[in-house]
């Protein structure tokens, strides 16, 4: 925990430009899915924190560049992606899952059992 804090502090001190990653939030039957475009972010430089109802995602992207080569044209560079979300009570916080695939972070936020739709039996006499 403290180690992680230190890491976070380190990235902030580096003064990288900070970007808000493009995000999709989708609701499906099983819960909410958050997709975030974070190209160039590796698993070990991605931090996800859940504090009460606040979910914070941070990732550091380091651009690969060949040594001794001239930069002919640049449109992106090193940067830090950061974004936080407020999570509703509907979400089952214990079972939040995260997967990083090809530069896209997918957060799966399942709905809590009590929030799922259910059928109420009507008892007729």
């Amino acid at each position: 925990m403290s180690n992680e804090k230190k890491e976070l502090k380190k990235t902030q001190e580096q003064g990288l430009p900070r970007y808000s990653p493009s995000t999709d939030i989708i609701e499906r039957e099983d819960g909410f899915h958050i997709y975030m475009d974070m190209p160039g972010v590796q698993k070990d430089e991605l931090y996800i924190d859940l504090n009460d109802n606040e979910l914070t995602v941070r990732g550091v992207s380091r651009t690969k560049r060949p040594e001794k080569a001239n930069n002919v044209h640049m449109e992106f560079g090193d940067g830090e992606y950061a974004r936080s979300f407020t999570i509703s009570d509907v979400v089952d916080q214990e079972n939040i899952k995260a997967a990083l695939d090809n530069g896209v972070l997918e957060l799966t936020l399942p709905k809590a059992e009590r929030a799922k739709p259910r059928k109420i039996e009507i008892q007729a006499e």
Binding site: I25, H73, G77
Partner: protein, 137 residues
């Protein structure tokens, strides 16, 4: 009477914009203007092209080399479900990169890592700089 201040009127804003542009790091000034963003590097033997295309497999990206230009084409699919927020770009994209030197087509390498496309284009033999020794009599 109508006085057209338009050109003058805009002047302070233009000046502001110009100053803003100057403050930006010049290296990444064109960030996010066209999709996908590319970085191009060059050394004596290769041209390196990097592009941020998250969420795509290398097989789904169409790389074409023709007439001294590299084309990056593909399609980002839309996820299914009930959208609360949609910011990620979807749909077809295409980017053409002009290469001003001949490239050895058979040795071009491309790979995808963490959503960043990495293409290495080796320059063909005749484009590499050669030293010519001068014989003095």
């Amino acid at each position: 009477m109508v006085i057209d201040f338009s050109t003058f009127y805009d002047f302070p804003r233009q000046l502001d914009r110009m100053l803003d542009e100057m403050w930006k790091p010049s290296m990444i000034s064109q960030r996010r203007q066209s999709y996908p963003p590319v970085n191009i590097h060059e050394d004596e033997t290769n041209i390196y092209v990097y592009s941020e295309i998250p969420g795509m497999n290398i097989d789904d990206i169409d790389l074409t080399l023709s007439d001294g230009s590299l084309q990056i084409k593909g399609k980002r699919e839309v996820a299914k479900g009930n959208f609360y927020r949609q910011e990620r770009p979807t749909g077809l994209f295409q980017r053409v990169i002009n290469l001003n030197v001949p490239v050895d087509v058979d040795k071009v390498k491309a790979r995808m890592k963490d959503g960043v496309l990495d293409v290495v284009l080796p320059k063909s033999e005749e484009a590499k700089p050669k030293k010519i020794s001068i014989e003095a009599e």
